[in-house]
């Protein structure tokens, strides 16, 4: 193992591919002479020359499309976008060409290319450069979509992505380019569509990908202080999603926290939440939203604190003692808690075992200079005998209510009679 920063790990994968496969070439804005906006490709031009390290005009639609054409013509291009927000300019090419060519040609045309792009908020760039469109691209058929959170995964995933015969969106959290991590000395690859179990645990599954993983680390530390055993999943791949690993984990822990960097409405976490509910868990409600302003000078999330996630988690999942009688004890959270929405959930359910989905959600603040992030927690629980009894009781009550509501029917009857007379 050796220590490496994220930027170097990505560069290592690019360099290896250029050395090993003459069909690999890299294209993008200012990746050559300038060395790349985030310096990922710095030095590659000198080593591999302008035929393989191609500076492009500022024409995202066209150089993305040219990458697609080059791939269809037998090359293996890696196209770099300066920001994933710029993918919008080339969206037609990414979706209609990269995504649809294989399908519409009945499998005749392959597009073996990678589109690399820095993604995410938190580097004081305003709304246009702080978005996370990997979650949009993750829903496009024909594309793979990955988002690594550490140097080891970045290296392993990029190696696999370049070798893959399909178009791959490779989203790189801009916040993490300088982050360090251990990387194995021996050659390895990481298959696309595989989540990693970062840490095994029994009480709760917390999952994310990309920059969300650093928030999970903080939350984990706090929970460990209370002797809560956390299982951490790094999804790594947004399409395909490794549901096998997710299912195995949540069936063990029975509690889930999902952290995503995405918009709240139709966000990526909702996709996973829906699937979780599909495999036997019931969504209760969204209970909590919190805005975090990403300030100007601080360059980060100024009022972010792990307690934003940890407090309601503790409140809901582990109200008294984490290991004592949770599964067979009823509880109501403290209604004096300042977290208003928690009160709401406290009054709407009887806790048996719960599932929480939290999202770090990007939304737009009115101010141009400030982008707000929102944390949303969605609660799930598994249906139990208790629920079934309650449901039956509700249904019975409903039936009684209907019986009581005879006057409505009789009004109709009267009308009918009137009509008939």
């Amino acid at each position: 193992m050796s220590e490496m920063i994220m930027r170097e790990a990505i560069k290592k994968a690019l360099q290896e591919s250029l050395e090993n496969d003459p069909d690999v070439l890299i294209m993008g804005e200012d990746i050559g002479e300038y060395g790349g906006a985030y310096a990922v490709t710095d030095g590659l031009l000198k080593k591999f020359g302008p035929n393989r390290i191609k500076d492009t005009p500022i024409s995202e639609a066209t150089f993305i499309g040219a990458g697609i054409g080059a791939a269809a013509g037998g090359l293996r291009p890696v196209v770099e976008l300066m920001s994933i927000s710029f993918s919008l300019v080339g969206f037609d090419q990414i979706v209609n060409m990269a995504g649809n060519l294989r399908y519409m040609s009945g499998g005749q045309i392959s597009v073996p290319m990678v589109i690399r792009a820095p993604t995410g908020a938190g580097v004081q760039l305003g709304a246009t450069h702080s978005q996370s469109f990997e979650t949009w691209l993750a829903e496009v058929p024909g594309l793979y979509c990955v988002c690594p959170s550490n140097p080891k995964d970045a290296l392993g995933l990029l190696r696999t992505s370049i070798k893959n015969n399909n178009p791959v969106i490779f989203a790189e959290p801009a916040l993490l380019y300088g982050s360090k991590g251990e990387v194995p000395e021996d050659y390895y690859e990481i298959p696309l569509g595989s989540a990693s179990i970062v840490k095994e645990g029994n009480d709760i599954t917390i999952m994310s990908y990309g920059a969300g993983m650093s928030i999970i680390d903080e939350v984990n530390q706090k929970l460990e202080e209370s002797n809560i055993s956390v299982e951490i999943l790094d999804l790594r791949s947004l399409n395909p999603i490794d549901y096998k690993t997710i299912e195995k984990s949540i069936k063990k822990t029975n509690r889930v926290l999902i952290v995503h960097e995405d918009n709240m409405t139709n966000g990526f976490g909702a996709e996973i939440a829906a699937k979780i509910s599909d495999i036997g868990f019931e969504l209760i409600n969204i209970i909590f939203g919190h805005d975090m302003l990403m300030g100007s000078k601080l360059g980060g999330m100024i009022n972010w604190s792990t307690n934003i996630v940890v407090d309601p988690l503790m409140e809901i999942f582990f109200p008294i003692a984490p290991f004592e009688g949770l599964l067979n004890s009823y509880f109501l959270p403290d209604t004096s808690n300042p977290m208003g929405p928690v009160e709401y959930i406290g009054s709407t359910f009887i806790a048996v075992s719960l599932f929480i989905v939290a999202g770090i959600v990007l939304s737009y603040a009115l101010s141009v200079a400030v982008v707000a992030q929102t944390i949303t927690i969605v609660i799930f629980r598994m249906k139990t005998e208790e629920d079934n009894l309650l449901e039956r009781k509700d249904e019975e009550e409903l039936e009684i209510e209907n019986e009581d509501d005879w006057s409505f029917d009789s009004d109709l009857n009267i009308k009918d009679e009137d009509n008939g007379s």
Partner: protein, 340 residues
């Protein structure tokens, strides 16, 4: 003074040349007539409900596709727009499988997944009709980059209509192709209308397009797109230049579609006099008349060609009709290459 032998050789050569010319000429006519008959059969089967979706016919523009594509070899790529039947047939794509594709059948070029606007045959380097206007330009640039990078000697021919010249990708790709010296022949099929919008209403810069391309430092010319021999000659010069000197070339073909934008078009936006004016230049009518008057072929040979083509088209309709629909499971196939 030339010997008798030399003179005999010269005569033989001349005969061979004229015989080659005759074969070529007949080939050009046959293809134009094939496209015309194919399109008429498409229209008929569209009204019968055998073909659904949008149907854009190439009627009137045959000389452009046939003249230009006749200059290409098997290393060259073709990328085109959604009015793509003519280019596909001129490139020699299987008539039966093309018709079956329009019928949405399993035996279609793309197993029925592309339809009228998206014909593909990668074996013939026919890389698609593309239905997002202007979307094909960057793809052409990329294919040309692959030719250049691999030094195959291939040229990419990118067909596009006048409507697409107002898209950003048009200007971006002209610029990129010039900067990177990509081997692309841009062929503009200027039929004066982007759907129902006359170029007079949507274009600044007049009715000629090729003059504006000098901005991108790309050599350009203009040709009568209704004259198959003129198109062939202009394309040959352009392709030779690209192969010899590298870099792109821009050829504007002035042409006209005799029918509506699609079969749903009532053509309220243009006068019937204009259509009649252009119909007098119909290449499928004028070219064979010239061939006969020049003594290159006789009426009998012409009729034989027509008869064979009509049968070929009828066979393709029968083939498409009798082909099976794709299985339902096919909807999930061909999205990814080798994915579990």
């Amino acid at each position: 003074m030339a010997t008798l032998k030399e003179e005999k050789n010269k005569k033989n050569l001349k005969n061979q040349k004229s015989s080659l010319e005759k074969t070529e000429m007949l080939g050009l006519y046959r293809q134009m007539f094939l496209i015309r008959q194919f399109e008429l059969a498409c229209a008929e089967n569209y009204t019968k409900g055998n073909i659904r979706g949008f149907l854009h016919l190439y009627i009137g523009q045959e000389a452009t596709a046939v003249g230009s594509i006749s200059c290409l070899n098997n290393k060259d790529y073709i990328v085109t727009h959604y009015r793509d039947h003519g280019h596909a047939l001129a490139r020699g794509l299987d008539v039966n499988r093309s018709m079956a594709e329009l019928f949405g059948k399993k035996t279609g070029l793309s197993k029925g997944k592309g339809g009228s606007m998206h014909l593909f045959d990668s074996a013939r380097k026919f890389m698609g009709g593309h239905a997002i206007v202007g979307g094909q330009f960057p793809l052409a640039a990329g294919l040309a980059l692959a030719c250049q990078y691999k030094k195959t000697g291939g040229v990419v021919v990118c067909f596009f209509g006048d409507g697409s010249t107002n898209q950003g990708t048009y200007h971006e790709t002209l610029n990129l192709a010039s900067v990177w010296k990509l081997p692309i022949l841009f062929i503009l099929e200027n039929n004066k209308y982007g759907m129902g919008s006359s170029i007079d209403r949507v274009r600044a810069g007049g009715e000629d397009f090729y003059t504006g391309v000098s901005t991108y430092d790309i050599p350009a010319s203009q040709v009568n797109g209704m004259d198959v021999l003129a198109v062939k000659e202009a394309t040959k010069l352009a392709i030779d230049k690209i192969r010899k000197e590298g870099g792109p070339f821009y050829l504007e073909c002035k042409t006209f579609r005799f029918v509506g934008h699609s079969l749903a078009d009532g053509q309220k936006y243009r006068k019937s006099e204009e259509v009649k004016f252009w119909e007098k230049q119909d290449p499928v009518e004028k070219f064979p008349k010239w061939l006969i008057s020049a003594g290159i072929i006789n009426q009998k040979e012409l009729d034989e060609i027509k008869q064979k083509v009509r049968k070929e088209i009828q066979d393709s309709v029968d083939f498409a009709n009798s082909s099976e629909n794709p299985e339902k499971s096919e909807i999930k196939e061909d999205i990814y290459e080798m994915r579990d």
